[in-house]
Structure formats: structure tokens, C-alpha cells
């Protein structure tokens, strides 16, 4: 009983520790101190999720039953890693350049961004992975029960289902917490990766401790151990050659195709250089991991009573020797193996499910495609969270209803064979330009059907899902359709039989269908990009964005990427193109980059469809068709270069035209300036002159009249002074002779003051202002009066010109890389795109703004912000008129 309690306590402490580690890593990464999080060592350790509980417990059991065959499971991946230059390097490069989010995304992207294909791959992956998750849950519950039996208390945790349920819930929580922090799956999940790296060390250490204890503590040395091994029932080489070869092949294939391996190997990869280290370090890890398996198996067979479950020797052997501490360590090792697998598998599958199944359905249900209302980000994140929970629950249900036991134990290889069906499509897609979508469909379907028929259904045992009659006589009584002797070829090991037929029929039909069909232009384009990824690290153009409206694109991107990321992306792109503001030209380059950024969030196919909708459907231009039709690489290169050049010229011309238009506008304004100044000065002077003449010339004015006319003269004189002040202010600011009065104060106070003075003059306070004061607690060190002047101006503009029925102004303060952004967004009809370019010019009163002041306000604001080292600009695509004030890092004393 005591042991049981300690075990539960240790378990809880360990889980808490993992949460803390993950949390710490996320924090460090956010604060930019996470360099070590991206080391080759961490990458290598994260690959070790290949070694699940099936390795930790199962390998010993496997060895006890079948001798050395367990090694095939680790030799396959070793060969793949050592041969990284062939395949992994290319996958990682493609994954990075195309911003691939999962293996389903890679396959769908390669074959013309087909979502149907992605759905197929996703479904197959879920079917192949669910039993495997169940296997992990089973291993944890079994190992618990070992302790429960040992401490002879049946009551404590007798209910194994509830153990499994608890574990499943905990894992789902962890994955949701650290797996869906950021939407962009291309951003690394540092918390998850570091936690599984820690677990990798723990499981290796635990297995080594048990091994060392067995070899030196129980048996008494290496020589003695070897003698015992040879004397045991697995003491001689017994191996079916066909199994040896085909299982090495199978494990190599699964290593490449398992969704969770793809996740850590390609999606979470930060640097191609890490592969170089992993190429030897990961095989070393696998080697050490499998080193003590046979000694433990042999010793267990020797010492433990007949009929003990060899799958649990790693636990029961130390327990039988009275080493409870060691057993506990070993339990934690097994626990680590199981949990890390479930976490990453759930993460990988949920990305696939939410991107390829939930999102497309949601988008088609809401009906409006790209122009959805509301924030898509929340939908995506929720979809991903539900998918994680769904995947784990599916694993748990499988565990419950399969009843554990033998059906699960054999599922490891069955599952491997299932995901290995991706191999022909994956390799074909990466190495063969002729591979087509139809081929991929055919191959995958054939492979899947053969796998289900020959391996999956029979694996549940006779008469469970596959009637014995069919096993013996074949489907419909056709003997050549017997699941374990297809085409009448008998005598092959069932596993080898299934691998052989499923993979070869899969590959064959894939190649044949590819050769018979004809690919769409997009498929050929993607094919060229994938196969020649090293030459085409910059990409051919596939968007012709003539009609695209950058503002529409921005609205859509904000909803998917979030306002901050989208604005940063558009801003940097605009800067790169040499356009000021937030709206870059919709060049093919830009659309391509945008599509990649979006696909990081919603998957390639969806992103492509969304942009296609806005840009106007023509996803492939005539030039692209010509380029694709031309097979030779040189021609493609040449036409690409020509296209780039004419594109460049067109852009330069467009920029020149823009500049010219602006110059003309400014010149017209310069002309108007004098006339404006004249008007603004003469109007008050007219009153002053008229009334002073009246006062001078009329004798019979009453007292009240005299006072009234004198005060009019006085008011108009003040008005003149104000105007001259504004003009002087502006000219001083423009000439940079201004003295700043630097003070310290709270941003919220400055805003309070600005709102108060902007609204008092108005008489009725018609403008509703909503703020988030929590974000406003920033200590500033800048010229607070000047800053306040800017705020007052923006708020009074909203008060005067917001034409909504219930005018409302939203103040939004955000922190971005140390700068502070203060957005003033009203709910009026905003400012038209033409006017956006001139509102900051002097006397530029546009549209509805005619009735206002002298039109110097925004010009002064712009100059002030420039003096304060920040900026103020118009923010398009927010619904109403929106202005953004940016304060530089130096003015914030300490952010929050």
C-alpha cells in the first residue's frame, strides 16, 4: 500500500516537473533566451519519441518470444538516419520552404494542393495511430497494476479503466496547453519539444539502470551474461530471413511516414544542420536503447516464475529482486515513453484533422469562403484543441473496447504497416516529377484496402472482425482472395505477406495510374518545386495578382494570423517593395509569401483556396501554363527570369507613377496653401475691421452693444492668434527646432487627460469611448504634453467626423517587440483609399472633414510623433477610421 502511494506521489511530482519544464521553455523562448532550445541535441532527443512504451516494455517481451527479431525495429530507422542525405534532408528542406504542417499537408501540397487527398491521408493516419495510442495507455495501466499486485492491495487502484482515463485526460490537457499556444504550427512548440527531450533522457537512463543492474548486479558481469544468453531458450540464431529483411524495411518506412515522427523530424525542425548531428546521435541512442534488451529478457526468463508476462520484465525483475526504487525509476521510464508518444501523436494528428477536415467543413458551412466574418483564429485553435481531445479519447475508447490484451500487443507492427502505405506516395512525390494526384489516390487506396484486408482485420483474431471462413476460403469463396495467401501464394509469413502485397500493389498502382493520367498545371508546378527543391529554393510564380485588393487580403489575413502578425507581414512586405504604409502591391511574390504564411495556420489547400477566392480564381497564369508545358529546366529558368524582370519594371513604373501623383497632389496643395492661409487670416480680420469701424464711427451705440462688439473683436483676435500659433508650431516642428520637455508618467493618465480635454468642448458627449485600462499601465518617459496633444487631436477628430449612428471610439494598446502601439479605431465609414494618402498633409480637409478646423491637426500630429521618435499613421482595414500611434521602445520605462 505504501509503495502504491509513493508511486502515485512520484508520478504526480514527475508530471508537475514536466509541466514546469515545458512552461519554463515556453517562457524562455518568448523572452528570446531560448537559443539552447534549438540545439541539435534537443532535436536528436525529440526524435526518440520513436521509442514508445512498445520499445520500453515491449522490446524485452519481443526478445523473450522471438529472439533477436526486435532489433529490426531499430535497424530500419538507423539506416534512414545514416542515409539522411538521400531523403530526410530533402523532406526537411521541402518542409521548410513550403511551410508544411503535417505529412497530410505535404502530400496534399505536392499533388496540386488537393484537400481530398489530405483527408484520405488524415483518415488513414488516424486509423493507424489510434490503436497505438491505446497501446500506450494500456502499458501505463499494466505497469500500475504490477505495483498494485506487488503491494497486495487490490482496492487501491483496482479500476484500471479509471487509471487509463486519468492518464488520457492529463495527456490531452498537456498537449492542448503546450501544443496550441500559437496558431502557426511552423512556430516551434518549445514546451512540447523540451518535455519530450527530457522524457527521452529519463527513459534511456531508466532502461540503462535496469540493464546495468541485471548484468552486473544480478548475473555478475558481461562474460557470465553472454554464457547465460547462449544457454537460454533464445540462445541460438533463429530468424526467418524474410521477416528480418521485410521488418527492417517496414520500420524504415514507418520511421519516415509516422505522423508523429514527421512532426518532430520535419515540422519542428529549426535548422537543417541539426540533421547532421542527429544522423549519428540518433542511431547511437537507438543502439544504447536496445543494448540491454536481450540480457533483461534472458534473466527474466531464468529467474521469474513460469508464465510471467515478459512484456513487464523491466518492472517485475527489479521488483522480484526487492529493488523497489529501481522499479519505480523503470516505471517512470515507461511512463515517459508512453506519454511522449501520445503527446506528439495527438499534436500531429490534431493538426491534420483540424486543417484538413474541420476547417474545410467549417468554411463551407459558413458559406462565405475567404470573406468570413469574425476571427478565424479562434475557430482554428478551438478546432485543434477539440481534435487533440478527440484523438486521445479515440485512443482511450479503443483501449476500453478492445479490452486490452493480445489484440493490442500485436498492434505495433500492424500500425507500422498501415502508415507505411504513405511511403510510395511520399517518395514518389519527392523524387519523381511524373507522380500525379490520381496516382497518389489509386496507390493509397489500394494499399489501404490490402492492409485492412490482409493485416488489420485478421489481427483481431479469428472471427472477431474477419470470419474464419473468409480466412480459409477467401472472400466470396474465391480462394485467390484468402487474406493471408493472396493469389494463391501460400506459406509466406502473414506479416511479410501483408507488407509485400500492400506496398508492392500500392506502389505499382501509384506508378501506373500516374503514368496513365495527366497532371493539372498546379500539380506539375508543385511537382517541380518539390522534386527540384534544391534548385528552386526560391519559387516560381503561381499567382497573377493583378486584380487582388491588398486591403481585402489584409482583412482576411488579420482574421487568420491575428492582427499583429498580419500587419507586421504586410508592413514588412510593403517596405520591401518600397511602398509606404501597410498595403503592399499584390505581386505574385507577395501572394506566394502570404499563402505560405496562411498555410502555416490553416494548411496548404485551404490557404490556396482562400487567396484564390480573393485574387479572382485564376490561380495559375498563362505564363505559368507555358512554363509548365515547357519541360526543360533552362527554359523555365529563362522565362522565370524574364517574368521577374518585366514584373520588376512594372513595379518600378507603378511606384514612379505613385510618386508622381503624390508630387502633383502636393504641388496643388502648396498652391492652395497660400490661398488657405489667406482665407483663414482674412475671415477673422473682416469681423475685426468691420466692428472696429462701427465702434469708431457710431456715436449712439448702447453700452451693451459696445461691450458685445468689443468682445467679438477680442474673440476674433484670439482666433487669429490660435491660427498663427498652429502655423508656427508646425513650422517649428517641421524645422526640427523643437525643445522636448521629457517627463515621466502613466500612459493611462495621458489618455485620461486627452479624453477629458477632447470631449469637454463638445457640449454633448456623443462619443462613446471603450478602453482596456489594464493594457494602458505603461510608464512613459517622453514629452507628455506633446503626446497628449496628439491624442487630443485624434480623439476630437473621431468626435467631429465619426458618422456612425452611435459613434464609438475604441482605444487599443498593444505591445510589440518593445514598441507600444496605440490604436484609435472608430466605427464610422472610415477614409477612402485616395484620401488616406493625403490626410497628413497640411490643410488637407477631405470629404466629410471639410467643415472642421484649419486642417493642420494631423500634420502637427505627424510632426510631433516624428520628434518623439515614433509615428502616427492611418491603419486600413479596421472597419472605421483608424489611426495608429507608435511609441518607440525608449519611451517605455518598463513595459508592465
Amino acid at each position: 500500500m505504501a509503495t502504491m502511494n509513493i508511486l502515485v506521489a512520484v508520478c504526480l511530482v514527475y508530471v508537475t516537473f514536466l509541466f514546469a519544464v515545458a512552461f519554463g521553455a515556453e517562457r524562455a523562448a518568448r523572452q528570446g533566451q531560448g537559443g539552447w532550445l534549438r540545439s541539435p541535441l534537443v532535436y536528436t532527443l525529440s526524435l526518440s519519441i520513436y521509442c514508445t512504451a512498445w520499445t520500453f516494455y515491449g522490446a524485452v517481451g519481443y526478445a523473450a518470444r522471438s529472439g533477436m527479431e526486435y532489433l529490426t525495429i531499430y535497424i530500419g530507422p538507423t539506416l534512414v538516419m545514416i542515409g539522411w542525405w538521400w531523403c530526410l534532408r530533402k523532406l526537411v528542406r521541402i518542409g521548410r520552404t513550403q511551410r508544411v504542417t503535417s505529412i497530410a499537408d505535404l502530400i496534399s501540397s505536392r499533388y496540386g494542393k488537393s484537400n481530398l487527398l489530405a483527408i484520405g491521408v488524415t483518415v488513414l493516419a488516424v486509423i493507424g495511430t489510434t490503436p497505438y495510442i491505446a497501446l500506450q495507455l494500456q502499458s501505463v495501466t499494466l505497469s500500475f497494476s504490477v505495483f498494485a499486485d506487488a503491494s497486495e492491495s487490490n482496492g487501491a487502484l483496482a479500476d484500471m479503466d479509471s487509471t487509463a482515463l486519468l492518464v488520457a485526460m492529463g495527456l490531452a490537457l498537456f498537449t492542448i496547453l503546450f501544443g496550441t499556444r500559437n496558431l502557426d504550427v511552423n512556430e516551434r512548440h518549445h514546451g512540447v519539444v523540451i518535455a519530450i527531450a527530457v522524457e527521452a533522457i529519463v527513459k534511456l537512463f531508466a532502461l540503462l539502470c535496469v540493464g546495468a543492474f541485471v548484468v552486473w548486479g544480478v548475473v555478475g558481469g558481461v562474460g557470465e551474461m553472454m554464457a547465460r544468453i547462449d544457454a537460454s531458450e533464445i540462445g541460438h540464431w533463429q530468424m526467418r530471413g524474410d521477416r528480418w529483411a521485410s521488418l527492417i524495411f517496414l520500420s524504415a518506412a514507418a520511421f519516415l511516414c509516422l505522423p508523429r515522427m514527421f512532426q518532430v523530424m520535419v515540422v519542428e525542425n529549426d535548422d537543417e544542420g541539426h540533421l547532421r548531428t542527429a544522423s549519428w546521435a540518433f542511431p547511437a541512442y537507438l543502439m544504447v536503447m536496445s543494448l540491454f534488451v536481450v540480457p533483461i529478457a534472458v534473466t527474466g526468463l531464468d529467474l521469474l516464475p513460469e508464465g510471467s508476462n515478459p512484456d513487464l520484465f523491466v518492472l517485475t525483475l527489479p521488483l522480484a529482486m526487492g529493488k523497489e526504487g529501481l522499479a519505480m525509476l523503470s516505471f517512470i521510464g515507461g511512463f515517459s515513453s508512453a506519454t511522449s508518444m501520445v503527446i506528439v501523436a495527438a499534436l500531429a494528428l490534431s493538426t491534420m484533422v483540424s486543417n484538413h477536415i474541420v476547417m474545410p467543413i467549417w468554411l463551407s458551412l459558413t458559406g462565405s469562403g475567404a470573406m468570413v466574418s469574425g476571427d478565424v483564429r479562434n475557430v482554428v485553435i478551438m478546432a485543434r484543441r477539440f481534435s487533440i481531445a478527440g484523438v486521445v479519447v479515440l485512443g482511450y475508447l479503443y483501449f476500453r473496447f478492445s479490452g486490452g490484451g493480445a489484440a493490442l500487443a500485436s498492434i505495433g507492427l500492424v500500425s507500422f504497416a498501415g502508415v507505411a502505405q504513405f511511403l510510395p506516395v511520399l517518395l514518389g512525390g519527392v523524387f519523381w516529377r511524373g507522380a500525379t494526384r490520381v496516382g497518389a489516390f489509386t496507390g493509397l487506396s489500394v494499399g489501404f484496402v490490402v492492409w485492412v484486408y490482409c493485416l488489420l482485420l485478421p489481427s483481431f483474431g479469428p472471427d472477431v472482425l474477419m470470419p474464419t471462413q473468409i480466412m480459409q476460403e477467401g472472400l466470396f469463396g474465391w480462394s485467390w482472395l484468402r487474406p493471408q495467401a493472396l493469389f494463391g501464394i501460400e506459406g509466406i509469413d502473414p506479416m511479410v505477406h501483408a507488407i509485400l502485397w500492400s506496398i508492392s500493389l500500392n506502389g505499382l498502382s501509384f506508378v501506373l495510374a500516374s503514368m496513365l493520367g495527366f497532371p493539372t498545371p498546379l500539380e506539375r508546378l508543385q511537382g517541380a518545386q518539390f522534386v527540384n527543391v534544391y534548385e528552386h529554393s526560391s519559387t516560381p510564380q503561381s499567382w497573377s495578382g493583378n486584380a487582388a485588393q491588398s486591403e481585402d487580403l489584409m482583412i482576411m489575413s488579420q482574421r487568420i494570423l491575428g492582427a499583429r502578425e498580419a500587419q507586421a507581414l504586410f508592413e514588412s512586405e510593403a517596405r520591401r517593395q518600397g511602398v509606404s504604409g501597410y498595403l503592399p502591391d499584390t505581386t505574385p511574390d507577395f501572394l506566394q509569401a502570404l499563402e505560405r504564411a496562411l498555410s502555416g495556420s490553416v494548411g496548404t489547400a485551404t490557404a490556396h483556396a482562400m487567396i484564390g477566392q480573393i485574387v479572382g480564381g485564376a490561380s495559375v497564369s498563362v505564363e505559368d501554363l507555358l512554363a509548365v508545358a515547357d519541360e526543360t529546366a533552362q527554359m523555365m529558368e529563362y522565362s522565370n527570369r524574364l517574368e521577374a524582370k518585366s514584373e520588376e519594371q512594372a513595379r518600378t513604373a507603378r511606384q514612379l507613377r505613385q510618386a508622381n501623383e503624390k508630387l502633383q497632389q502636393i504641388s496643388v496643395q502648396k498652391d492652395a496653401f497660400l490661398s488657405q492661409v489667406s482665407h483663414e487670416l482674412r475671415t477673422p480680420m473682416t469681423s475685426i475691421r468691420a466692428f472696429s469701424e462701427i465702434l469708431r464711427d457710431s456715436e449712439k451705440l448702447s453700452e451693451t452693444e459696445q461691450v458685445k462688439y468689443a468682445s467679438i473683436i477680442h474673440d476674433e483676435a484670439l482666433r487669429l492668434t490660435r491660427l498663427l500659433d498652429d502655423l508656427l508650431d508646425l513650422s517649428v516642428l517641421e524645422n526640427g527646432q523643437v525643445n522636448l520637455n521629457i517627463q515621466q508618467g502613466q500612459l493611462s493618465r495621458v489618455l485620461d487627460h486627452a479624453i477629458a480635454s477632447a470631449l469637454t468642448g463638445s457640449g454633448q458627449e456623443g462619443l462613446k469611448i471603450s478602453r482596456d485600462t489594464a493594457q494602458e499601465t505603461v510608464l512613459l518617459s517622453t514629452d507628455l504634453d506633446r503626446l497628449s496633444q496628439v491624442f487630443i487631436n485624434l480623439i476630437s477628430n473621431a468626435r467631429k467626423y465619426c458618422d456612425a449612428e452611435v459613434p464609438e471610439l475604441v482605444l487599443r494598446v498593444t505591445h510589440r517587440d518593445d514598441t507600444i502601439l496605440i490604436d484609435f479605431i472608430d466605427n464610422g465609414s472610415g477614409i477612402s483609399k485616395n484620401d488616406q494618402a493625403v490626410i497628413f498633409e497640411k490643410f488637407a480637409r477631405v470629404g466629410a472633414m471639410r467643415a472642421g478646423g484649419a486642417g493642420l491637426g494631423l500634420a502637427i500630429c505627424r510632426e510631433i510623433m516624428a520628434r518623439l521618435g515614433g509615428s502616427v499613421s492611418y491603419l486600413p482595414g479596421q472597419g472605421g477610421a483608424a489611426f495608429r500611434v507608435i511609441l518607440p521602445a525608449s519611451s517605455a520605462m518598463a513595459a508592465q
Binding site: S678, H679, R682, I688, A690, E693, I694, D715
Partner: protein, 122 residues
């Protein structure tokens, strides 16, 4: 009862000043302060003299003048225009539109009075 003058101007202080000057001289002064419906107001009760500002909210004085000249016969209604911009271009455009007298702000009261008298008597 003197002759009727209609003043269309948006600056309240200037309205006050001109009203004072003219009513002291015996004119009946009506005022109106925006451009939208200025034409209707004029046509509704045609005055003996119209004083029109150029920069008006809603519709510019020049446009109002053009519309009036279209609807009324030439010379039916004497019109004086006021402007604070005082550019040559403005004067030319006003003359083209058919203005009788063009004055730049600020003006002397005597000058204004004299101009009004002149316009109504001729």
C-alpha cells in the same frame, strides 16, 4: 421699409457686422448661412440685392450664382460676392458666372455701403 437685401454667409460675426451696417442705413436684411438650400431661399422670396460668400458649407457661392443665373434672367438680380481668398482666379470665375460686384474681405464699412447702394440704384 427699405429695400430687401439677402445675405448668405456662414461666419456669424461677419453676418452680424454686415447686418448692422446695412440696417443702420435703412435696408431690410435677411440672412441665410448654408449653401444647400440657398437657391431655394433666393427663389422663394427674391430680394433686391444678394450678397453671397464664396466659401459656403454645402455648396460654393459660385455654384449658387451659376444656378441662379440659369433660372432667373440676366440682370434680374444684382449679386455681390465676398471672398476671403482674394485670388485673381476667383474674381475671373465669379465674373464669368455673372457677378455684379466682387469684394475681397476685409472691406471697409463705407466701401460696402457704397457698393450696395450703387448696385440697387442702377
Amino acid at each position: 421699409m427699405g429695400k430687401r437685401v439677402l445675405l448668405i454667409e456662414d461666419e456669424p460675426n461677419i453676418i452680424e457686422a454686415i447686418s448692422f451696417i446695412l440696417s443702420r442705413d435703412g435696408w431690410a436684411v435677411a440672412t441665410h448661412s448654408n449653401g444647400h438650400d440657398a437657391v431655394d431661399v433666393v427663389l422663394g422670396a427674391p430680394p433686391d440685392l444678394l450678397i453671397l460668400d464664396v466659401m459656403l458649407p454645402g455648396k460654393s457661392g459660385l455654384d449658387i450664382l451659376r444656378m441662379l443665373r440659369e433660372k432667373l434672367g440676366p440682370g434680374d438680380l444684382p449679386v455681390m460676392m465676398l471672398t476671403a481668398r482674394g485670388q485673381l482666379k476667383d474674381r475671373e470665375m465669379a465674373e464669368k458666372a455673372g457677378v455684379n460686384r466682387f469684394m475681397t474681405k476685409p472691406f471697409s464699412n463705407a466701401e460696402m455701403l457704397e457698393a450696395v447702394r450703387e448696385l440697387v440704384e442702377t
